[in-house]
Amino acid sequence: MLKRVHFPRSALPYLLVAPQILITLVFFIWPASQAVYQSFLIEDAFGLSTEFVWFENFELLVDDEQYLQSFGRTIFFSAAVALLSMSAALVLAGFADRVVRGATAYRTLMIWPYAVAPVLAGALWVFMFNPTLGIFPFLLDMVGIDWNHYLNGTHAMMLVIFAAAWKQIAYNFLFYLAAMQSIPRSLIEAAAIDGAGPVRRFVDHIFPLISPTTFFLLVINAVYAFFDTFGIIHAVTQGGPANSTTILVYKVFNDGFVGLDLGGSAAQSVILMVLVIAMTVVQFRFIERKVEY
């Protein structure tokens, strides 16, 4: 934590941490405490008076059918995004791990979607699935599926899942490939000598050995799907049709900035904060464990 040898006491360290601490206090701690404070207030319809109501905003949320649905939807969305993009990345990394020549070329071609902004990913996918013009509705029409994510909630949900998972494949691929390449070759060779084929080796040796990476990626993907996908939802569906793609982050934004329900939005923010804290704790505990190995 601290160096054994350090500089003598002076005012310098305070000056050095000052910018970081100042920004943290002004733009992080203060707004977050404001959110907590506001979550205990209810404002009347005209914004003239506010009343301190303790946990009423939270009680309202717990009883709110729409909020609970949004909660369930977010969990489904996150699980689907994590499952889709992690399994695609796992398969691709498993094959890329076998490649001797051209491995870097494959990696280069696989990782660049990481650099595409979520909202752009949304724009690309919404264009490909545009009901009148897009290439996929055209192909789906041939097999008798009438694709329209503007009207069909299931289609809309599928579209945002595709866009979100597509963008995350690069990240997962990179971590899976690195994990597989760090497995000692002698282990895999020993398994091969004992007669285990490629599939057997993958299922019985490689996959269990990289399970820490899988767990790490699960947390990262969940955080990504919870918080970083706002741009995708906003560009592709705006939460619709009929709230079928309103995930929690989008609802906080919508209730606060569009619906101007300050107390309710603040209460939702507080719940989200608790979720982030829980996820961060899980992530850090896991890293501590990995250091011990």
Partner: protein, 283 residues
Amino acid sequence: MVENRPVLNVITHLVLIIGIVIVALPIWITFVASTHDAVRMTQAPIPMLPGTHFWENFSQTLLGSGLSGTETAPVWRMLLNSLTMALMIALGKIAISLISAFAIVYFKFPFRMLFFWLIFVTLMLPVEVRILPTFEVVADLGMLNSYWGLSIPLIASATATFMFRQVFLTIPDEMLESARIDGAGPLRFFWDILIPLSRTNIAALFVILFIYGWNQYLWPLLITTDTDMTTIVMSIKQMLEAAEQSPQWNIIMMTALLAMLPPVFVVVAMQKLFVQGLTETDK
């Protein structure tokens, strides 16, 4: 390679090529759309092979008014805004994290741990969960529609501070001892020894943070109302809305292409640093 299996090798390359095609398909379609004229892009099915209007669309998007019939800033202006914001965020984060990590590792002073935990807490408060109150703070400070407002609230970073802390801890104590014997003060030591020693880490972090800054969406969306301050990533959404009335997919997709080009270039050109930065900051 453990054993030689020709059939499996063929399957391996086949699967990887299919994977790359799926990953690249959205970009290919974007590129193709940006090479056709507006009329062709209203006829279904849309083309899958490039057309001949690339440069025409390019100059109309970049230098012309962009999408006709909407009140947006010219695209070159938006690219400039994005670049400024991304650089300010990346360089700002690196600068304040370097000095605070230096203070926490190399000095013993009251409230050191309190500061450390304060920085740690920022990790748990992404913009998305505190948008309204943060917006109010920025509005009260009069920072709406400014580069400061776009970048400063995003500059505090626990991950960067932790990373530099980790780097500094691996630097042997003898370095500091000998520097002090030679009469170097803290700032001299920081500037002449710590910074040069952590040069690759700074570069790797820069790559990640540049992409992070460039791709910001929700925050610029909230605090910029002036069209002159729009970033390129934000503008895509406005264009998509406009497209519902008058579709000009060639221009929209050209803009999307221009918006993703700088960060994609950074990832591909500095791949080694990118991978290093990604694995370091998230561990």
